[in-house]
Amino acid sequence: MIPYGLALLLVALSGIPGLFLQKGGGRIAAILQGLGALAGLTASLHLLCGGRPWTLSLPATPLGSAGLLHFDAIAAFFLIPVLLVPACGSLFGVGYWRDRDENASRLHLLYGLLTAFLALLVAASHAFTFLLGWEGMAMAAFFLVITEDRNPETRRAGWIYLVSTHTGTLCLLGAFALVSAATGSFAFSAFPAGLAGTGRLTAAFVLFLLGFGFKMGAFPLHFWLPPAHAAAPSHVSAFMSGVLIKMGVLGLVRFLAWVPDPPLWWGGVLVILGALSGILGVAFALGQHSLKRLLAYHSIENIGIILLGIGIGSIGKSTGHLEIMVLGYGGGLLHVLNHSLFKGLLFLAAGSVVHATGTQNLEELGGLARSMPRTSAGFLTGAWAICGLPPLNGFISEWLIYLAAFRGLILTRSPWPILTLTALAIIGALALACFCKAFGIVFLGEPRSEHATHAHESPRTMLVPMGILGGACILIGLFSFLGLPGLDRLVADLAGQQVLPGIGELAHLPALSVLAIPLLGLACLLWRWARAMPSARQVPTWDCGYAAATPRMQYTASSLADGLVSGMRIVLLPKVRWRRILAIFPSPRRFHSHLPDPVLDRVASPGLDLLSRFLILFRILQRGYLAVYLLYVMLTLIFLLVWMVV
């Protein structure tokens, strides 16, 4: 309890000194965040390695006597990314967002506060503390998104985020009310069996799904995510994409932990949502031209993978196949941690690119692997992990979900496992294509513009956090079996059962570690062997003998993804503007392609415009005279009086 409290205090106060200092505020914030992360990680690891959970409760509160905070395995697990990623992010911020930059002290303050609210949220075990943490998180994140509030695009992204998050909160309020009406308490506790099938709980499930779906960015509630992530400073994007959206998963997991007998269709709905988010997330990522928007769409994809895991786990629980449940839940939850690590890493590397070149447009970048070798190694590690390629951590969690799906299709006759399996295979192939594009276009080849030509490697404060996150990705990938006891405990908490088959018995994780040895060993040997021969360097690319190629003639990001994007044009509806070339000696032509978001640009924006045109009629009521408002008050009172009497 003490390390957790200490961590909460340290991160909450980390931005305060910066308010009173001319410079050095960012440095102090980073140190405090780092210390807070150390304290919190000891608490988490202690609990996951077998420590006892604790509860904080007030003896007599108007809210009932139940605990306000409960630090169990789920809280301990989610606390790891909640503290680790912002600690790395704030250190990154020292180099990335100088103290003299726009709104720096506000940024430091809110970065710390957001961390504190998230740390509060993970341990919340009462609707009151949960919603307190939830709203604090929403507001802090809103002000972080609009750090560069002089830019109208940023303000727009911030408003979209604010509206979505509050719509989500509204759903949550309704859901908590329904749950308390059914159980008689606002505290988080297990439901009696048989309650889950009732109409009230069905409504609560749908409302929770909406509320948490907005936060985690599940399709089609994802639309706030790409603009917000693209507009925020990169270490804020890393924090939001790596950690904040996972709070939706946390909420869903908390809710599922209360239910001893989830209906089968809940799992089915989660699998469908997961497949939809996963496939469409990566498909829309393929068509993006902006590096950070591309990464944002990949967050939607990874939320899809997590939902597939949790959904198949829930199906295992409903059908009584404990091994499917354990593998699905284990894979889904491990992917939460893994995604926060590699997505944090990718956003920081993207921030490093933006810092060095001043642009996040893929078509203007290129050749950065030579000018920024460390950043490019960091991005490559993140890309490798996010594609789920062995031997890094992304593969471990996806592998567990695959195993759950395979066991599901062997053991049951339900259609969900094969859907999960196919969706994962498609997501895997498309994610690989997308990160070939992202890494290949940004870091390889020749620079495509002046911006990229004059790029320089980032300072050490920005490289060290990337190293920490990348190192964590590699360690989890290579030594995954060491984390098995903690993962077993976590799954037991989520399942609400203590006697379960261990993940280690179902999935032979040490075999993956053993196979990594020949994989890396052979690669090293071949690397040395291939470089042992003297070679000719400083020659141009052969390129079939075409000597006069310019950097502008390289393959672009759009053309690399064109095969897949135009293959899926029925779903993606890309907007392409160009005129057919007919003349033998044509004049210069322009080609323009753009992939609008299907929900934001096609439904939400036009729909809300229409709505606001209608709502303008109500302006008549708002006259701006005090007397008129007093009249409204009086009319209301009279109405209420009449209503009470009658």
Binding site: L409, L526, Y555
Partner: protein
């Protein structure tokens, strides 16, 4: 009988030697078949071994555009081939390393090779190689579901998620091959042709930028890295060949006869690829996705048949 230690050792030795040495024979055999069908003498069957020996002694040329990423592609191709050979059974004897879920690891290993080969190609900054990369990524995204639906079918049939359980299962005899297996074989043969860059998906012979996918991605490799590329692609022919042949190998009562059957089947596969290449033209690029979709549909049907 097969559990006796000396025989296990012989199996392991044969497995290792096959993985290390036999692979370059397969392209030689395919080319010989193509030459014979066309009425030519053709290169020797051992030609690839000579080519590799020559390339190993040659200096490599690296473009000044390339970085350390450039070498990763060739290295990954060979490493992945060898590690995959550790977990795929050759014939009816289980692979040296086997565990539940190694089929998924197997598929993702080739993902690593594809990822790094594409990055190596993009590292040269050449638009030809970019074009090849784009096609490779597009087509492999279609081949992946076909591969996994095939795995799902075999897993449902054998109750195992391990390649050794799925492919070298004692349940498999020729008499028990059923409609789902034939559909999986059809789908996987298409995947095999696409993954190994053969006609009708890709043309391994031409260096014309309009026709090639895999060949264009390795345009700038030379010397030892190029030797790795050539050896790696022959290794892929072997390992994926062992994968798609597994469920259809007849099982005999003698372990040595099982090995003969395996090598015979591998040779037959090479001949089949050679004949396909001799009698067909490469498809137009916009027809290739339809072929691969046919593979996806075939394996989906296979699963549905087993499911019903």
């Amino acid at each position: 009988m097969e559990d006796i230690l000396p025989i296990r050792l012989v199996h392991l030795l044969l497995h290792g030697l096959t993985a290390l040495l036999v692979a370059p024979l397969i392209p030689g055999l395919i080319n010989k078949v193509k030459a014979l069908v066309a009425g030519r003498q053709g290169p020797r069957i051992l030609q690839l071994y000579y080519d590799l020996a020559k390339l190993i002694r040659k200096r490599a040329v690296f473009s000044r555009t390339t970085t350390w990423v450039f070498l990763l592609g060739p290295i990954a191709t060979v490493t992945v081939g060898w590690v995959a050979a550790l977990i795929v059974p050759f014939g009816h004897f289980p692979a040296p390393i086997r565990f539940e879920g190694d089929a998924i690891f197997f598929a993702y290993l080739f993902g690593v090779a594809r990822f790094l080969t594409v990055l190596s190609a993009l590292d040269t900054g050449s638009s030809f190689e970019g074009m090849g990369s784009a096609r490779e990524l597009t087509f492999s995204a279609l081949a992946e579901p076909a591969l996994f639906l095939g795995f799902a079918t075999l897993a449902k049939y054998s109750g195992s998620i391990s390649l050794s359980g799925m492919l070298a299962s004692p349940q498999f005899t020729l008499s028990r091959v059923m409609a789902p297996h034939i559909l999986v074989l059809t789908a996987w043969f298409i995947v095999y042709l696409a993954e190994n860059a053969r006609i009708p998906v890709d043309d391994p012979n031409t260096h014309l930028e309009l026709t090639m996918i895999h060949e264009v991605m390795v345009l700038d490799h030379s010397g030892r890295p190029f030797a790795l590329v050539l050896y790696g692609s022959s290794l892929k022919l072997l390992v994926l060949g062992a994968l798609i042949l597994g469920p259809f190998l007849p099982r005999t009562h003698y372990w040595w006869l099982d090995w003969v059957a395996f090598f015979g089947a591998l040779a037959a596969l090479a001949v089949a690829v050679g004949i396909v290449e001799s009698i067909m033209a490469r498809f137009r690029m916009n027809k290739v996705p339809q072929l691969l979709l046919a593979a996806v549909v075939a394996s989906a049907f296979a699963f549905t048949l087993l499911f019903a």
